[in-house]
Amino acid sequence: MFITVSIVILVAIAVGLVRAFRGPTLYDRVLAANMIGTLTVLMVAVLGFMTGRPEFLDIALVYVLISFVSTIAVLRVYASRSSTPGNGGK
């Protein structure tokens, strides 16, 4: 059962990667990265149960925080770039 769930998660990650490669805007890529972050969290949690050692959920918790902070960081950078004239987007 855990196997089915983890295969589904892997498929979803692959689909998210396709979106991250295709874009077309940067926002799409950030969105895909955010989704992959969530999926990785779930996969780590499921993996813990699958290998019979679910006490390693700390890793998944760190992933949640990190993917959140890096999403915010990229938006912050992008916003400040596009506001400075001559330096921002094309």
Binding site: M1, V11, T38, V46, A79
Partner: protein, 105 residues
């Protein structure tokens, strides 16, 4: 009782997996960024939530379940916040049409 819990947890896990898949397909197939946001929200809340509830039922009353609850709490706040920040940043970006057609390739 044991069996009931197992069945419940499998149902939750399976439901969560289906929602994750639906969300992923949506991210791939939807035509533009704002519609894709909806698909990701399905993943972030319903899919992740159901999977975590399924795991909690497996974990029983232990530290594992507390950590899963904490994860649930984090995800339920960070997911929508990130998507909201993304949507709002994109909206402000769209005011400049050049950003809209930003083709990184």
């Amino acid at each position: 009782m044991e069996l009931l819990l197992d069945i419940l947890s499998w149902a939750c896990l399976l439901g969560g997996a289906i929602f994750l898949l639906i969300g992923a397909i949506g991210v791939l197939r939807f035509p533009d960024f704002y519609t894709r946001l909806h698909a990701v929200s399905v993943c972030d809340t319903l899919g992740a939530g159901l999977v975590l509830v399924g795991l909690m039922l497996q974990g029983g009353l232990s530290l594992v379940t507390v950590k899963l609850l904490l994860m649930f709490y984090f995800l339920i706040f960070t997911g929508p916040t990130a998507v909201h920040a993304l949507a709002s940043a994109a909206l402000q970006g769209k005011l400049k049409p050049t950003l809209d057609e930003h083709e990184p390739e």
